[in-house]
Amino acid sequence: MSAAMDNSAVGPRPGNRLSALFWRRPGLSLAGLVLPPVLWMVLIYIAALAVLFVAAFWSVDDFTGEIVRKWTLANFQEIVTSPTYRRIAFRTIGMAALVTLTDAVLAFPVAYFMARVAGPRLRLALITAVVLPLWSSYLARVYAWRLILSHDGALNWGLKALGLPPADIGYTNVAMWIVFSYIWLPFMIMPVYAALERIPRNYFEASQDLGARGGRTFLKVVLPLAMPGLVAGSIFSFSLTLGDYITPVLVGGPGSDFIGNVVYSNVGVANNIPFAAAYATVPLVLMAGYLWLARRIGAFDVM
């Protein structure tokens, strides 16, 4: 009898002693939990970022193609002085900013509708409708736009049906702008919705009771409280655009190279890893600053 109950009763079994030990010394079990993920992140990811950072200061021997592990600023010098690399960096950053702005404008009314107007059932349906494209294949969606925007695609077909001249925007920067805005839009809607949903209803009433009209309530109450959501969304739209090189290849034109394209061709074709690493530090430094700011605003709570 007692042996059968032993499973749940307090007894001198080793398992129980072990759990008692963990209970008395929470630090021990905490260490057991912390170590595996910390080791993985530090030994692989943080170490990889460190290698990337150090490799940026190395160079490649022109004759042998071997990496020379000697400290030099030559890569950075080339990035800063070469007009081509400067232009590509500015194009990438400019596009990321433009896409972020576009998505914020497109997303805000939707998030607001979901949080404040839609009933619970409609809200759930809309969340699903926004989340499904977010998780559906990235390549499928970019490819869809490649077909839509191409010369004999659905866009020109639609324009022709309306009696309008064709808009040949396939393989241009305009096409990239549309596709990026499209791809990252759900990443903006969700955090803005999460931020708006948290605003207690009586804040709106209080603002109105104090005499604020709709526009003023929006500017003084809604917008500041939605800010962490907008910042969280912008982390995704900005960072994902900054780090992309697939969309420029598939829907961009000859003059649409991104930082990512240069990095990729230097790893693959040119086999100049130090230069690729140096160029990759441009978005890295940019995002490090951005993330640090976002943390201070509290954007991580609604991500």
């Binding site: 759990s19 595996p36 993920p37 699903t128 494209p133 780090g243 290849v249 790893v267």
Partner: protein, 259 residues
């Protein structure tokens, strides 16, 4: 309360945005049935002939199999490490807690080329040849955060007193985990695992830097689109991938909505 005109404007805007989100996806689904191998709109006619043809394509099969194997192992690693991290962060205030939660988010918060490039130079640095294993390492690294977020969000809603009550009633740590904590977080775990797999199955940017000469399914699709080859097969695969990834995502949201 918002005025009627504001509400109408918001509703119309929402309808347009949802149409914008789904239009291209519906359109690309139609292309899979395109008779012609020229991809113009409107499509020339409907056919099912590309489906068996795609299934018979050996390259596609190899790529699909690699994607599945890499996704399964990466998801398993991410589930273990993400759950550990979530428990550790939820448990107590300890030094480095903030740093861990920050480090876990980094692989998806930083631009994809950085994660890819960093891992690539790391493998080159240690003379590790790119293989199945390097793909798995890359995928696991950015999938951890998905499981972590799901489990942590759940743990924050489950009161710690439940586990304490179980201990007071004489259950050991393992039994408390088995009978109290695990059932409380199980759906969050499943959702996290499904989403992590979906993310791994679709990833291109980091994978190009960690795969070497091998093709995962997205890498094969990317190569084919870029070269403009085998586009009818691409149309079919793209439709299949859209349907197949919708299932785990839909399930993930269902299991978490029940609570």
């Amino acid at each position: 309360m918002e005025s009627i005109s504001t509400r109408i404007f918001l509703a119309l805007w929402t309808i347009l945005v949802i149409a914008f989100l789904f239009g291209p996806i519906l359109l690309i689904a139609v292309y899979a049935f395109n008779v012609s191998n020229v991809q113009s709109w409107p499509i020339a006619g409907l056919t099912l002939k590309w489906f068996p043809k795609t299934w018979a394509n050996q390259e596609v099969r190899t790529a699909l199999w690699l994607s599945i194997r890499a996704g399964l192992l990466a998801t398993t690693i991410a589930v273990v490490l993400g759950t550990f991290a979530a428990f550790a962060v939820n448990r107590a205030r300890w030094r480095g807690r903030e740093a861990l939660s920050f480090a876990v988010v980094l692989p998806i918060a930083l631009p994809g080329i950085i994660t890819g490039m960093a891992l690539n130079s790391f493998f080159v640095f240690w003379h590790i040849p790119l293989s199945y294993w390097t793909i798995v390492i890359g995928h696991a690294t950015f999938c951890i955060v998905i499981v972590y977020n799901n489990v942590l969000a759940r743990l924050r809603r489950v009161p710690g007193s439940l586990a304490e009550a179980s201990m007071d009633l004489g259950a050991g740590a393992w039994m408390t985990f088995q009978r109290v904590t695990f059932p409380a977080i199980s759906t969050a775990l499943i959702a996290g695992a499904l989403l992590a797999f979906a993310l791994s199955f679709d990833e291109v940017i980091v994978t190009t830097f960690t795969a070497g000469a091998q093709n995962t399914l997205p890498l094969w699709i990317f190569g084919a689109i870029r070269l403009g080859q085998e586009l009818p097969e691409v149309n079919v695969i793209v439709l299949a991938v859209l349907v197949v990834t919708a299932v785990p995502v839909f399930l993930a949201y269902r299991v978490t909505q029940d609570r």
